[in-house]
Symmetry: C3
Amino acid sequence: MKLLFELLGKHSVSGDESEVSQVIINYAKKRMKSWKVQPEIYFGEDFHDCILFKFGKPRTAVFAHIDTIGFMTRYQNQLVPVGGPEILSGTRLVGKDSKGEISCQLMEEEEVCFHDFPRGIDRGTRLSFEQNIRVDDKFIQAAYLDNRLGIYNALKLCETLDNGWVVFSTYEEHGGGSIPFLLRFIQNNSPVNQALISDITWITEGIHHHEGVVISIRDKFIPRKKFMDRLISLAEKSGIPFQLEVESYGGSDGREVQFSPYAIDWCFIGAAEDNVHTPNEKVSLFDLDSMLRMYQYLMNEL
Amino acid sequence: MKLLFELLGKHSVSGDESEVSQVIINYAKKRMKSWKVQPEIYFGEDFHDCILFKFGKPRTAVFAHIDTIGFMTRYQNQLVPVGGPEILSGTRLVGKDSKGEISCQLMEEEEVCFHDFPRGIDRGTRLSFEQNIRVDDKFIQAAYLDNRLGIYNALKLCETLDNGWVVFSTYEEHGGGSIPFLLRFIQNNSPVNQALISDITWITEGIHHHEGVVISIRDKFIPRKKFMDRLISLAEKSGIPFQLEVESYGGSDGREVQFSPYAIDWCFIGAAEDNVHTPNEKVSLFDLDSMLRMYQYLMNEL
Amino acid sequence: MKLLFELLGKHSVSGDESEVSQVIINYAKKRMKSWKVQPEIYFGEDFHDCILFKFGKPRTAVFAHIDTIGFMTRYQNQLVPVGGPEILSGTRLVGKDSKGEISCQLMEEEEVCFHDFPRGIDRGTRLSFEQNIRVDDKFIQAAYLDNRLGIYNALKLCETLDNGWVVFSTYEEHGGGSIPFLLRFIQNNSPVNQALISDITWITEGIHHHEGVVISIRDKFIPRKKFMDRLISLAEKSGIPFQLEVESYGGSDGREVQFSPYAIDWCFIGAAEDNVHTPNEKVSLFDLDSMLRMYQYLMNEL
């Protein structure tokens, strides 16, 4: 889990994903010799801070977003959210501007957010939750498991993957915007008709810790029934524990696959977390393990 | 109206449109020999559950969505809407899951929807309004006239069409998602710069039964004035009864034509209904007749 | 400022931008011989009412929207907004329908808008704010400075521009829809990876008159940090006065660049105004001057 700890230590608020992007590139360069298949890697300014790995002859693309929610400084000591962070007064925030390192508290009054840093902070500075990783034999708890675990899953998948795209996207937490150009590149290079979204979902009245990876039948958007039927029947055959989710809210990179100019089926598959979009996101290690195994299984079978 | 009754008898909640898709394909295969022009037909997994007919050298594409609003089972006996159905306690719903046929009542308490089916229903099962078709000499009344009438109009148009695309889209009731790939296919195959949306709109204080098909000057989105001026002046020349609609809400497949990467003018043209998105949608047969005639006229003249 | 006055005198409510489009074409035809570089000009029905100028070998595209907010007549004496105009009872509105010129007052009761014109107005007629241009030595005040000033800036830029696209878009005030096809044309003809949005923003607690052009670090959407860092450092080097904006609401043509299928960095740069979307929009001439100079500087340096 050294990789996961390294990922959890980086800042990557939407629009500023270069640090995590670099970690992924460095990790791949160091480790890919031990991977079963050597992928072609696409990254750099033409791809903004996104990365694509192409293994063999892809039928399916896996998308893991590398950005996180957070805050941005406005005027005086105001903060505006990036994505949808939980607003809990007292939460520790960290960042950096032209004058140096920043560590402060989040405060809220009458639905406006502030920080308590003694000096002014440059306009437009991104602040992240202070990281605090806790692992025991049942759970991992930290800020930004959403979506460091999705990245981790995608990178572990690379070790054994024969055929498929593994794609690291940006901006997912703040409305998206990278999936359209990534999909265009994929479809022009080596097209697919299936996509899996490697991301983290929610513990709810129907989704519980330790009951396996979540396969989402819908969130705000709805994947195609024919594809879901096939995928769920494969999941059943796999013997890997999984739970079926039905939500009316929430979205993922799947939304932009749905609205893309390509007929690509998609499905969100990922472990569920408590304390969503807080510094205390909490995921069952059992569910994470099911996630890793389910991706390896499905990428072979789909 | 045998075709219309057959269409009204099928379930096709967004994301699960294969039954209606099959009815359309079967109908076309059986009837197209009597059509004036033999179209090229595109369908199958590459098009998900959508279908495209190409007649001659198209200048205009007609879009009719084949999905409907409905419900999906969540956890326990909860239901979540698909699209925007009217929530009326007591409404009869039908569907099917792994354990068999389902017939139950919709119930609402504190803005949460439930069903009263005595056994649990598989998560993610789609439920439709129970169908009850009523026709007299003035009106047709049934569930899902929106958009079975739009499909019916598009298929009747095929009988006499010389040039044009007739396209059956999915997901319209739930945010869309098929128009982008359909348009890309059209523009790469035989491009158009005009689109008509064959769909059903609303009776309002300005739109009345028996006053003709509705030509919509705007809903939430606004077609280009130059195109509307030309289209309305043709409609006036046609002698076919029509009404002009101006709304600030509502959308259609036209929305995705508007936001597509092609300069395509579009307009919504269709009969108006009462009791929108209930099992009792009601349309004037006179207005339906104007709709059929207006499409035949405009597809020649535009 | 004759050009600006001419632009301010035209009506161009979203979806009906042909008048302003014509002014731009006529101006360019008359003046382009004195421009440093002769652009290629693309316009006409294939581009709806949009216009593109290509200068040299573009690295960056400038977008200025040519539409404005306004109203559309509905049934009886009702009005529905186009875009988001401020609703102030008593505001003078003007327009034209099949029966002739219209001049009336806007009235609001219980969140519904009406007009007081003595005769009925054709359904779907667009009404604009009555124009009243006021200039002193510090300010210009008028209806529709948003975005006549953005157009003016783009056209002044043409005089000295070596390399770049200058693009006039439609529909920006009402959800957009022209940027996708304009971008597709640009990327197929002479692609860019940078875009500047020539538009007008808001005076707020952090943005003041006479303090220079506004460079927006974010509105509802967020440009990429790497690009903003480079752009702001250039702006600092320029010596031209500028202010940094951080907002959580509002959008521009930048939104559609963000969600396009191309990896194009973008930034909104424009003067700020008071009395947004009223007939009394007010912009500092000092800020307008900084805007003109900043575009000339950045289009060279980026």
